[in-house]
């Protein structure tokens, strides 16, 4: 393709000005833009059309190429991020090298930002398009860089999303490393003993997924494992996994585990029960946790050796840290979320009987810390209040989270339904209980949620008070009673005061640890601090880093149904790469004009991608590793000899754009 005779001819540029159905043409005089381009030498054809991205629009380009009327293309339309691929494909189909295309953005950069200045916007569009015409004239045909992809995936995090992705990929035939930083699979989900709306036990559902994982030889599960370093890129990720020994080295019977735990003198808060109970330094979160081997909590273990004495030969208290290098073609991040933990005294948090929703959910589990009982001093509670949106939907200026944490402006999506599910269960188990909900909006949007929970709880006599975003409920704890005061919008702002036995704070989801993972892979985050997708609709599970995909709540709050659907979507995108065995990369890489290079070494110093540019010692010239180059252009800027250029983005081409934009 590179040598296609078409491109040896002198440039015959085709210019296509898109109306974008009015998005552009309502502001910009597209006909004039097209006419102006026609005057430029080398422009063989210039026209406008309602939707260039549509099939008939693309057909216009293809026909002109096939007829030999044009051999370079400029599309003046939206952002190339949206449609560059679309138009490149059209060029390819018509037999023209796809890099002989220039898409110039006259929508975001002209019509949308100059809505009230039609003349100015048109003038700007003309200048921008003129620049693109000159730029495309200097374009050379390029070929994508094809690299082989390793046939394996690394999935980070073994909650429901990670389990789903791993299982999907493995049953398609790919080999999968599934990394989990704790000793057990299941993530936060296994703390939920009844999932809305099916009321299934998450431990059982995760149990089914564990079986899928265990029975698939393509999956290698590494627990107590964290990513400590990551290099490489799509097709060839190199990840160093730091794995800490589990401490327990052989299968233990239930009795042996009990003996060992009894012998352990250490007691710490049990995170599985949201700190409502204690556990030992040798532990297992729940009975059927997977892998079915207890683990030593090294952070709290005193190495006293009592557990090892109690069950001989099964525990090794010498903590071993192993660093293993693993490689893969793709990476799927499924690191999940964390429950928001209120600050001390936030809505009375810290006082007795002020608990969080995740804590209540643990208490309602029959196998949980209170055996399913919600009692105070041995008596069933008579009233419970729920404050919605704790740590969610915060508004700057109203809620000051303090310097230690940023604002959580997002809605956590699951809490409304989870609250009402819990409230319904309380109504069923504690006949006559008074339920109070302090809310902003009831967001029971999901399947069955409205009828099964919201309607039922309302019919059961629950009282709803609505607070506004700028006046939050005030909680005070006085001689045993918990007092909630607020202005109720539903009664025209009447001040209400309610005393409850138990106050539940519906704490939402906040990004869990993605900091560490995001930094290791240099992944961008959204303003809400969750990991960011490329585009919510066009590329919802892809990240800005090629070959890294997002699954589950590391991206945004989701319930388990939604998280596993997204995980399936991540799997299918990863599978497409793994199945074909190769990836195509953009040819925009640095190239060194060897004759000019004097080996100053400045380029190597500023290169942010380890090893992308280096000095070939034998030749004493700079050399580029195309696979690693990220086209940042740092080396171009610092080279004292001007010996480096980024292919496709040569300085000479930029100069021609600038000249055209400023030309009178």
């Amino acid at each position: 393709m590179t040598d296609s005779p078409i491109t040896k001819e002198s440039p015959k540029v085709g210019v296509y000005v898109c109306h974008c159905g009015g998005n552009i043409s309502d502001i910009i005089d597209v006909k004039r833009v097209a006419e102006e381009m026609e005057k430029i030498p080398g422009v063989a054809l210039s026209t406008d059309y309602i939707f260039m991205c549509s099939d008939p629009g693309q057909q216009k380009i293809k026909d002109a190429i096939k007829d030999g009327r044009i051999n370079r293309v400029v599309v003046a339309a939206c952002s190339p991020r949206l449609h560059e691929l679309t138009f490149r494909r059209a060029l390819t189909v018509a037999g023209l090298n796809p890099y002989l295309l220039e898409q110039v953005n006259i929508r975001e950069q002209a019509s949308w930002v100059h809505k009230t200045d039609h003349k100015g916007a048109t003038e700007k569009a003309i200048r921008l398009t003129r620049g693109a015409v000159e730029k495309v004239k200097l374009a050379k045909p390029l070929d994508m860089i094809e690299i082989k992809s390793l046939p394996s995936a690394i999935v980070i995090g073994a909650g429901p999303a990670g389990l789903r992705t791993a299982s999907d990929l493995a049953s398609g035939g790919s080999s999968v490393y599934l990394l989990e930083k704790t000793p057990f699979t299941g993530g936060n989900a296994v703390k939920i003993d009844k999932l809305y709306p099916t009321e299934e036990d998450a431990k059982e559902i995760v149990g089914k997924m564990n079986i899928e994982i265990e029975s698939n030889n393509n999956i290698k599960l590494l627990t107590c494992a964290e990513v400590s370093d990551a290099t490489g890129g799509i097709g060839n990720f190199k990840v160093t996994v730091k794995q800490v020994s589990r401490g327990v080295v052989a299968m233990m019977s239930e009795k042996e585990f009990e003996d060992a735990a009894r012998a352990c003198p250490v007691e710490v808060d049990d995170e599985y029960n949201c700190s409502l109970s204690k556990r030992k330094a040798i532990y297992m979160p729940y009975k059927n946790a997977y892998p079915a081997l207890p683990a030593i909590d090294w952070a709290n273990c005193t190495l006293c050796g009592k557990c090892a004495e109690a069950v001989k030969g099964k525990i090794d208290l010498v903590k071993k840290v192993e660093n293993t290098a693993i490689e893969s073609g793709v990476v799927v991040v499924a690191t999940g979320y964390e429950h928001y933990v209120p600050a001390q005294a936030e809505y009375g948090y810290g006082a007795k009987n002020v608990i969080t929703l995740p804590q209540l959910i643990r208490m309602m589990d029959k196998t949980g810390p209170t055996g399913g009982k919600i009692e105070i001093n041995g008596k069933k509670i008579k009233s419970a209040g729920f404050i919605h949106c704790v740590g969610s939907r915060e508004i700057d200026g109203v809620k000051r989270p303090g310097p230690e944490r940023p604002l959580n402006a997002h809605c956590s999506r699951v809490c409304c339904t989870a609250i009402l599910q819990a409230a319904r269960e309380l109504q069923e188990n504690n006949k006559g209980i008074d339920i109070y909900s302090f809310y902003q909006d009831i967001r029971t949007y999901g399947r069955d949620a409205e009828l099964k929970y919201y309607d039922k709880v309302s019919a059961g006599g629950a009282v709803f008070f609505r607070y506004g975003p700028s006046e939050l409920p005030q909680v005070s704890v006085e001689n045993g009673g918990i007092n909630v005061k607020m202005k109720d919008l539903l009664t025209a702002g009447e001040k209400i005061e309610v005393t409850v036995d138990l106050l539940v704070l519906a704490t939402g989801m906040v990004p869990g640890d993605p900091g560490a993972i995001a930094d290791k892979f240099k992944m961008p985050k959204s303003v809400d601090r969750f990991l960011q997708e490329v585009h919510p609709k066009l590329r919802p599970v892809e990240t800005a880093i090629g070959g890294i995909f997002l699954a589950g709540t590391c991206q945004a709050p989701f319930d388990m149904t939604e998280a596993t659907a997204v995980a399936g979507a991540a799997a299918v995108k990863a599978a497409a790469i793994l199945e074909s065995g190769s990836v195509q990369l953009e040819p925009y890489v640095a190239v060194v004009a060897k004759e000019k290079c004097k080996c100053h070494g400045e380029c190597v110093k500023v290169c942010p991608a380890k090893g992308a540019i280096y000095i070939d010692e034998a030749e004493q010239k700079a050399e580029v590793n195309q696979m690693l180059c990220i086209s940042c252009g740092n080396c171009v800027a610092v080279c004292p000899e001007r010996a480096i250029d980024v292919q496709g983005y040569e300085i000479s081409r930029f100069e021609s754009i600038v000249d055209e934009i400023v030309r009178e």
Partner: protein, 428 residues
């Protein structure tokens, strides 16, 4: 009998995305669409929340990708009738409706459309605009092949005369064709439809002009829409005081739609924002029960709308009526004041209709549906796109209201499941 790895039923965003995901893995897909163009409901939207991308801009590339994909074959104007499992595989019966235009010879030149003297209500414009009795379905339709509507055609023959192809592409005696294909797996993405405009008699009696549906508003707001601006249907004037009635046909037992339609809050906010951009002087009020802005970035989107000066009033709308000047009077119960019924007036009202299943997937195949006809999620919590039959999966609104982001996630998941079923269940 022709055989495919997967037959995808319905070519909305769910079906297209499912097909592309499968095609990219090398599977042969038949994508069946009952309408004359692929694209479903999404291609008719104006702009989409929460990014406010223009909907054509992100739907057309998908349509184009699906239609040019080496591994995807598309049949439009073809309805899937039944799906029957035989061993691990499926027999799918299809009914290809007569287009009265030969798909092989039509070149999409629109000459027929130009000469046709008949104007009929345009389905794509949700009846806000008109089309000819023979026409290309809409500007960005795929394929660009004309379709003749026998109900409005008066058989004058002008189109036949104008057709430049040899032989003529207009075939008045074309008949429906029944076909059957085999597939290793099936994905149902039959989508949604909206409640009829007059579903709630307290709102609509029949003659009202300035009470429109949400989808009509989408078309009025679409840059490519029938008028290129928002105007009152009664007199073509720009509205000055507009109301959006949320949950107009949802969360309402009295009309049989007790569930939440899930997208209306967000699209109404979106429409209000677009309207405010187009007519900055217009007063805009949203009457709502709860604002359900639960997706990524949605809450922030809602706050932005408030900051733009759009009014949000928590209220139940009890009754609407339109006077002879086209002013709509609404009896509302304003929940956050005294709660006493008050009367408000607006010169244009947009109802957020409820979402219903777009087809009867439960009758097509022996898959379970809920009482409203949406496909049941048999393994909802860990395998969300599975039905009760191995080898049949679903994506999108066929299994309940949802937005595009959630639909696309399911399309990926369903494609993955279908691919793995082909490998293990039915053989590649």
């Amino acid at each position: 009998m022709k055989k495919y790895h997967t037959v995808v039923i319905g070519a909305g965003i769910a079906g297209m995305e499912t097909a592309i995901n499968l095609g990219n893995q090398g599977y042969k897909v038949l994508l069946v669409e009952k309408e004359a163009s692929i694209g479903g409901n999404m291609i008719a939207l104006s702009k989409v929340f929460p990014t406010l991308d223009c909907s054509s801009c992100i739907t057309t590339p998908k349509m184009s990708e699906a239609s040019h994909h080496d591994n995807i074959e598309i049949m439009t104007y073809t309805k899937a009738i039944s799906v029957i499992k035989e061993g691990p595989e499926f027999n799918v019966k299809l009914n290809k409706k007569p287009r009265y235009v030969d798909e092989k010879t039509c070149i999409g030149c629109k000459k027929c459309e130009e000469v046709c003297p008949v104007y009929a209500k345009h389905e794509f414009e949700r009846e806000t605009g008109s089309r000819k009795a023979i026409c290309i379905p809409y500007t960005t339709a795929i394929p660009q092949i004309a379709v003749l509507d026998p109900d409005t055609c008066m058989q004058c023959g002008k189109c036949y005369d104008a057709c430049p192809t040899e032989p003529k592409s207009i075939v008045f005696d074309q008949e429906a064709v029944e076909l059957e294909v085999k597939a290793s797996s099936v994905v149902m993405s039959t989508g949604f439809t909206l409640t009829a405009k007059d579903r709630k008699k307290e709102y609509i009696n029949g003659s009202e002009k300035n009470i429109i549906t949400a989808f009509q508003m989408e078309r009025l707001l679409a840059p490519s829409g029938p008028f290129g601006s928002v105007m009152r249907p009664s007199d073509g004037k720009a509205p000055e005081n507009v109301a959006f009635v949320l949950c107009a046909h949802s969360r309402d037992r009295s009309i049989g739609v007790p569930y939440c339609s899930r997208v209306c809050c967000m699209y109404s906010i979106k429409q209000a924002m677009l309207l405010s951009g187009a007519l900055p002087l217009c007063d805009i009020t949203l009457y709502y029960m709860d604002i359900r802005a639960f997706g990524k970035g949605y809450e922030q989107f809602y706050r932005n709308a408030e900051a733009m000066g759009i009014k949000f009033i928590k209220a139940k709308v009890a009754k609407m009526s339109e006077d002879k000047d086209g002013i709509v009077e609404m009896k509302i119960e304003e929940i956050e004041s005294t709660g006493a019924p008050v009367s408000v007036k607006h010169d244009l009202v947009i109802m957020a209709n409820g979402i219903l299943p777009g087809a009867e997937p439960g009758k097509m195949a022996s898959i379970n549906t809920d009482e409203y006809g949406f496909i049941s999620q048999e393994k909802m919590k860990y395998d969300p796109t599975a039905t009760n039959i191995d080898g049949i999966y679903f994506s999108g609104t066929a299994a309940g209201p949802k937005d595009i982001v959630d639909t696309i996630a399911e399309a990926g998941a369903a494609a993955m499941k279908a691919a793995n079923y082909i490998t293990h269940g039915a053989g590649k």
